[in-house]
Each structure stands twice: as structure tokens, then as C-alpha cells.
Amino acid sequence: MRMTTDYESVIGLEVHAQLLTRSKMFCGCPTAFGRAPNSQTCPICQGMPGVLPVINRRAIEFAIRTALALHCTVNAGCRFARKHYFYPDMPKNYQISQYEEPLAVNGWLEIEAHGTTRRIGIERLHLEEDVGKLVHEGTLETARASLVDFNRSGVPLMEIVSKPDLRSPEEAAAYLKTLRAILMYLGVCDGNMEEGSLRCDTNISLRPRGSTDYGVKVEIKNLNSFRNVQLATAYEGERQSAAIMSGQIIVQETRLWEADKGKTLSMRSKEYAHDYRYFPEPDLVPLKVEQRWVDQLRTTLPELPVARQQRFVTQYGLPAYDAELLTQSRALADYYEAAAREYPKPKIVSNWVLSELLRELPGDDEAALARCPIPPRNLARLLALIDGGTISGKIAKDVFEKMYSSGEDAETIVKREGLVQVADTGALASVVDQILAANAHAVEDWKKGKKQSLGFLVGQVMKATQGKANPAIVNQLLLEKLPKQS
């Protein structure tokens, strides 16, 4: 059943972002992804007896920059705390996190959904360490052994908790998208949700529309894409609504989103909720954050997505839709601006980037653009070739594909493959004559007033010249040679 209008969803998101620091949160081990198991570990991130953590200054810096971008108050002092539970992927059986005294609180970000802009509150932002990974021999159920890879253990994680301000699955997805873009602009997280550099849990409850109380909330874990966030919150909203309608009581619990089944399943209820026994981490002294440092970091903040989007509209005269897509990732926006500087017809550049380039690229993130075989300058020069009449727009698309696969520039490909547009009226006139002779019925149709015949004949000429004919000249020649319409 659809959710009735009597209830509204109250949604909050907890986002975990792996920070792009070179070394781990509390030791000097590298953070690179995908290396041989346990090759990036030391006694500290393996939780050996006697080891002690030392705070990574760069991680604090990344967190402060993010806090500032999210309009948070950076606390003058914060503390790390130990969060306890037993699990083999966590070497100390406690995680060093922050609890009562987080790094930053009380921020906001603006999202666009349902055609309006809304400000969503940020409850808190804090730092913690990631856990390792379990590798099961076969499936979890049948495995005879499980192995632990601690490469990820101790990688800095930033947790950003929203206020329960989101009211629909679309808003939840928009929030995550907006937040991800900000993190990527800041260069603090690569935003890769598939590899788990960005993870999301949501809390959702229902309440009668117009009420200001909160209902019993359910936490959904394991959401690794915008789509899953939207689908899972939508599913859960409907599940809760159906339950309420049939007189059931919602229980506070943690549920797991099973993407392939398209449903949430109960993981544990409140009675089995962990008592994490938080207490201040005695191995670290309280962290003092000097206002001077915060002020200095504020000056290093880059232009953020919303500001850049607005600038793209005013500076380049782009439609809001183009500006939004182009500014989702800093790398893509940088690419666009570089190309638009070389070829100052912003809307045409935008069309090519959004349709041709994004079709070829595996994504719009930093990594994808770093590997892009067509530098912005080459795209600009390709577009300039169309303007100069050297190639047609249609040929240009073929040239673009070849540029993408070979990494060569447009001129090289056009020259080698003889793709220079035929603009010689004499040479084209004879082709036009041949086509007219071979398509007598089309000429007849034209005479009877069928205007589409012209397009058909242009197409035939283009085909005969392998697309190299200048379409404007072909058009002109045909109009001259065709009989008058009756």
C-alpha cells in the first residue's frame, strides 16, 4: 500500500566518510585501498598489548574544514572516547571515537528536492577509527574459517549526523548527494560508495502530520548508494505505515537493507542493543582546537558546490539544470571551466561535457577525470573545428569517440582519416546531381509538397560523402536544383 497522507516520515542520516589522509587516524600506516591483506598494519592498528594511539593532525584538519563548510560550531575542546563491543574486525574490542565532546556541532546544509530548497540541520561531526574486514572462507553460514584483514583498521572516519529534518526518501537521497559533493569539493573524501569510502545509515520514524513529537525510530544499516537510501527509506516508511494502520506498534530496532530483495530485515531490537560503555579515552589528552587554526583553515575552503552552481548560471548563462550536473563533482566542474576558457561558448561546452564526455567516463569523480584521455583543451579544439567548418557536428562526435579511445587530438584524427568537411560547391554539385537522379520518387514527393523529402535527400548526400559534406552547402545546392513545389 502507499503511505497515507495522515503520517509523515521523519528521517535523519548518519554518514561515515573515510578521510583521504595518507596515514591512519592513530598510527603511521598508509591508508591506500586494495593492498595485500594485513600489509598496511603495525602493532598499533593491530591492537597489540602495550600500544598507544597518537592523533593524526591532518585528520583533525580535514574534519575542521568539513565542519566549517557545513556551518558547524567547531568546539574549542573535544575528547576521544572508547566505544566498546566485541567483534573480531575490531582489534582492541573498543573503537576510539568521540561521544560527549565531539569536534563540531550544530551546522546545516541546503538541499534541493521537490523543486524547493530546504535547510537541513547537522547535529554533530566527529572523528573515529575504522575497523578491519572479515574475509570468510565461502559464505558466512558455511565458512569453516574466517580471516581478518586489518588494513582498514584505524583509517580515519568522520561521522556526520544530521538532525531529523528530512521528510521524504527523495530528500534523504538529495541530502546524501549534496553532502557527498561537499566532501569531494573539500578533498577530504573520495566519495566512493561502492568501495565504502562513504557509508550511510538512516533513522526513520513516522508521526501524524502536523505533530512535533517523534515516533519510535528504526535504524537502517548497509546503504551504499543514493538509490538504496531512497529505496530503503521509502520501503521502511511504507512498512511502518502499514504496521501502524493495522494496529501494530513500531519497535525500536536496527534493520538491515537487503538491496537484492528490496526490503529491510530486523537485525536486533532495543533489548539486545549494545551497551557501549563509553568513557573518555585515557590514552589521549583532551584536544584543544585553537581559534587561530580554525580561522586559518576557513581561509583555505574552496568554492563549494552551491556557490559554484550559482556562479555557473550567472557567469556562463547556463540553465540551472546544466549548472547543477556540472558542479556535482569538483573535478568535472574544473574540467568544464578549463574547456570553457579555451572555447568560450559555454552552453555548447556544457552539452558536450554532459552528453558525450559523461557517456564515456566511468564516473564524474576525481579518479575518473584524472584518467580522462581527452584533456579540456582538446575538447575545446574539437569544438573549434566545427565552428571553422573543418568538420561537421556529426563527424565531430565520431572524432570525439576516437579521441577518447586513442588519446590523440582532434586535428591528428581528422587529418589522418581525411574527415575534413567537403565545402567545395563544384565537387558537391555533381554528387547532388547523382543523388537527384537516383531518387526520382523523392523528387516527385517534394514537388507534391512533401517537405521531409529535402531532409531525406540531404541525408543521402551526406551518406554518399561519408558525412564529410558541409550540410549547409548541400542544403543550399539541393534547394537550387530541386523543382518548384506545387
Partner: protein
């Protein structure tokens, strides 16, 4: 039995070589340690190799430090690269650390020789070394008695001259109390003075590594090498390390010594009280001025300690789960059972008791009443000391309310906890404390005098202790072992 200072002088004059000295120590250990049982692991081969290397440096006139070639015993709670570090627990019985504690790296760089690792109460929890999972250590002054604890192995090794000096760790008195029981010097430095990196944690906010030695000068020589800021320990403090041995001769004329009135308690051994009073008189005779001070929250310190220390321990010991290293119980059906059985088999009763106490004190709904309140008491204890130190330079009191007791004598854990009643407040306040011999009972058991100093003022503390030591004969006595 030469002191560390004397050994160094003999090495430099060529009168003795480290190899001869280490060999004679190994011989002595072979003869006497079966009675004392101070060591859990002997590192004979590496000790001889280190001695030989030290000998070459000394011969070439290029010793690494005043400790070059000096044979030491290390409490088995300090991680030693490639050498089994057990914490006297079954759960770490076969654990070989892949790294050195910072203090070991510093001793190594100074050329010191490690003879072996010493017995202790399991995970440093206890006051008699009877909580070792392997065997109890005996007091060299009376083999029927305990050496104190938890650094009982280190104290007994030093007292029996099975090492020239030793390292211990002190969370609530674990260096000073066994030093008192064994008639040696024991120094608990200011919290943050010595790096804890590589010290297997019991209670992180209280633990501190320190030296045990036969004289104050020897303790100063050892402290000199291990003290100082360590980037690997965020709780170590970047305060310059003064020249401790050089400060010893300065005398105590005009030194203000505070006598805390709360440190005379009911049930205290009268011989201890008498010896400490006489020691205070002796300090006066050396030019010190004494005055009574009050530390009113002393009564609550023990209770606060037994919430804070177990709470931290319950967290620190969570990592011993059979997954990564150490003991793993066989036959567990699933993960939870494996955890349960491993920890049931691997930990002894006192460790389990403290894990349970600590887990309870941190649980939701009890945190404020227990851990939170204990932390507030801790603040008050610290404030008491601060106020006292506005008027005096050091405090003098007994190290322990009684002398060494017999093995098996204290079966009630609470009775055992009371052994540390005079040492625990010092850890809660993070202050430096030293225990040194101040007499013997009629039955010939050592009595310890505790001096407590201001934060990072080990120099004053040690020079006061040195003045007393040099004016009294106690440090020259040795137990008769054959």
C-alpha cells in the same frame, strides 16, 4: 654486591668486564632463583651477547652511558621485541611482541643488559605476586613471605642481587609497595614523566614505569635514561629532564617536609609507625623542617581507585579475545563461545573480578554513580595534594601499613586492597613517589618510608631521599640467601 654506580666505575677502570659480571649474575640466578623465583623468563644468550658488545665499547673507551653493560631485570609487563612478554597471565603465556617498549629502546641505546623478565601479579593486579598465573615469588628476607606486588619479581630480584637494578610499573603502588617489602628503593615517577608506550596497560590514567634499585643514586641513574617525552605516548609530557644524579648532593637544609595526618590509620603495624617517625626525626636532624598537613579526601581515595582502575582495565583487557594472539580456547562452537572460553581459561580470578567491577562501573545507568563520581573524588584528591604542596616541598609517610606478610595470609581481596592505602592517592594525583628502606622489624623485615613530591619534581624528591639514605645504614643490609 656492587651498586650500579660502582659497577660502572669498575667497568671504566677495567677492574671488571660486563661479561664477567653478567656471567656471575647468571650463575647467582641459577643458584638462588629456584628459591626466590623472581624471573619468569631468562634471556641468557642475548644478555651475554649484549655484555660482550658493551665490553668492547668500554674497552674502546666509548661507553654508551653510565648504564653501559649494567645487568637489569624487566617486569614482564613491558614489551620486549622478540622476547616473550606474559604479564604473568595464561592468556599471554606465549605472546612474543614484535616491538620494544620505548623504555626498552632507551635502555638498549644506553647499553644496558637485560637478564630476563620478572614475575608479577597477573596484569599488575595485586599486591603480593601471588596472582601470577605461573608461581608466586618469595621475599628474599623471609622465603615464607610475599615480596609484595605487583612488581614483586623485580623487587625480589634487586633485593636478592639477582640483578643490579630493575624496572617495574606502578598503578596504585606496584613499585613502591614491593620495594618496601623487599627493602629496596622504588620510584614511581610523575604521570607523564616516562613513556608508557609498550607497557601493557592495566589502568592507563594511572600506570607509570619506574626503577627499582638498591640505592637512590642507582634509581636516579635508571630514571635518567627512561624519562622524557615520547611522541608515541600522547600522555607523556614535554617537560625537560633534569640531571637527576647531579641533583643528589644538594642536601636538604630548609626542605619543608609535610606529615599527612590522615596517614596514621587504625590497625597499622606499630613497628612501621615507629620506624617512619624515627625517619622523620632523622630528616629534621638533617635540616628539614616538618609540619603537619591534611589530605582530607584520603578516606575516599581507595574506593575511587577501585572504580577507576577496574573500569580502565575492563576496557584495556578487552583485546585479549583469542582472535589475534595469545591463548585461544579450543572447542568453541561459535565466536561468542570462543570468546567466553578463552577469557574464562586465560584470566585468573583477580583479573576477572576487576573486569567485572569495571564493566559494571561503566555500564549505562551506573556510569555517573560510579565512574563519574570516582573521577570527581580523584579531582578532590589531587586538590588536597596541591594545597599541601603550597606549604611543603615533599610529604613523608609510610609506604605500607604493614610489612611483608606470609604467602596465603590475605585471602580476602579487600584486605589485599588495603596494602596500597598510602600509595594509591599518589597515583590518583599523578605525583611522583619514592619508597626507600627506613628500618627493620625485630623479626628482620624491611620497612619502607614513602616520600611524595610535586609534579615533575623528582629531583627534590630524590635528593631528600638520598640525604636520608646516606645518613642511615639501612641500604647496606642484604638478605642472607644461600
Amino acid at each position: 654486591m656492587p651498586t650500579i654506580a660502582e659497577l660502572g666505575a669498575r667497568y671504566r677502570s677495567g677492574e671488571a668486564t660486563p661479561t664477567e659480571v653478567v656471567e656471575s649474575y647468571l650463575q647467582r640466578i641459577e643458584t638462588l632463583d629456584p628459591q626466590v623465583r623472581a624471573y619468569v623468563t631468562l634471556t641468557r644468550e642475548s644478555a651475554l651477547a649484549q655484555a660482550e658488545a658493551a665490553g668492547k665499547r668500554l674497552k674502546a673507551g666509548r661507553p654508551l652511558s653510565l648504564l653501559d653493560g649494567v645487568p637489569l631485570a624487566i617486569k614482564d609487563v613491558i614489551c620486549t621485541n622478540g622476547v616473550r612478554t606474559t604479564c604473568a597471565s595464561k592468556i599471554l603465556e606465549n605472546f612474543v611482541p614484535p616491538y620494544d617498549a620505548t623504555v626498552m629502546a632507551r635502555l638498549g641505546a644506553a647499553g644496558a643488559v637485560m637478564l630476563g623478565k620478572t614475575n608479577m601479579d597477573e596484569f599488575a593486579m595485586g599486591s603480593s605476586t601471588e596472582n601470577s598465573a605461573f608461581f608466586p615469588t618469595r621475599n628474599p628476607w623471609d622465603l615464607a613471605r610475599v615480596p609484595g606486588g605487583s612488581s614483586g619479581g623485580s623487587a625480589a630480584a634487586v633485593a636478592a642481587d639477582l640483578a643490579a637494578g630493575a624496572l617495574g610499573s606502578d598503578t596504585g603502588g606496584s613499585i613502591r609497595q614491593p620495594a618496601a617489602f623487599c627493602g629496596t628503593v622504588g620510584v614511581k615517577p610523575t604521570y607523564g614523566r616516562v613513556s608508557r608506550y609498550g607497557l601493557v596497560a592495566f589502568a592507563s590514567s594511572l600506570d607509570q614505569i619506574g626503577p627499582l634499585a638498591r640505592t637512590i643514586r642507582d634509581a636516579a641513574l635508571l630514571l635518567q635514561v627512561i624519562a622524557g617525552h615520547d611522541p608515541l605516548d600522547s600522555t607523556s609530557t614535554d617537560v625537560p629532564v633534569p640531571d637527576y644524579p647531579a641533583a643528589l648532593g644538594q642536601g636538604i637544609q630548609g626542605l619543608r617536609v609535610g606529615i599527612p595526618s590522615e596517614y596514621v590509620i587504625e590497625g597499622m603495624d606499630p613497628e612501621v609507625g615507629k620506624a617512619v617517625s624515627a625517619a622523620i626525626e632523622a630528616l629534621k636532624g638533617l635540616g628539614a623542617k616538618t609540619e603537619k598537613v591534611s589530605l582530607p579526601t584520603t578516606d575516599y581515595a581507595l574506593a575511587a581507585y577501585y572504580l577507576i582502575a577496574p573500569a580502565e582495565a575492563s576496557s584495556n583487557l578487552a583485546r585479549y579475545d583469542g582472535v589475534k594472539y595469545g591463548h585461544r580456547a579450543a572447542g568453541g562452537k561459535d565466536l561468542i563461545q570462543m570468546y567466553g572460553r578463552t577469557r574464562a581459561e586465560g584470566f585468573g580470578p583477580e583479573v576477572k573480578r576487576r573486569i567485572m567491577l569495571g564493566t559494571y562501573a561503566l555500564s549505562a545507568g551506573y556510569y555517573d554513580a560510579y565512574y563519574g563520581k570516582a573521577q570527581r573524588v580523584r579531582t578532590l584528591v589531587r586538590r588536597d595534594f596541591q594545597q599541601a604542596f603550597e606549604r611543603v616541598d615533599v610529604l613523608a609517610c609510610p609506604t605500607t601499613p604493614s610489612v611483608a606478610f606470609k604467602l596465603g595470609e590475605k585471602e580476602d581481596p579487600l584486605q589485599m586492597y588495603f596494602c596500597d592505602i598510602f600509595t594509591i592517592p599518589v597515583n590518583l594525583a599523578g605525583l611522583p613517589g619514592v619508597s626507600l628502606p627506613c628500618g627493620f622489624t625485630q623479626s628482620g623485615l624491611p620497612i619502607g618510608l614513602q616520600l611524595i613530591g610535586k609534579p615533575f619534581d623528582e629531583s627534590t624528591l630524590l635528593s631528600a631521599a638520598y640525604a636520608y639514605e646516606q645518613a642511615t645504614p639501612w641500604h647496606t643490609r642484604a638478605p642472607a640467601l644461600t
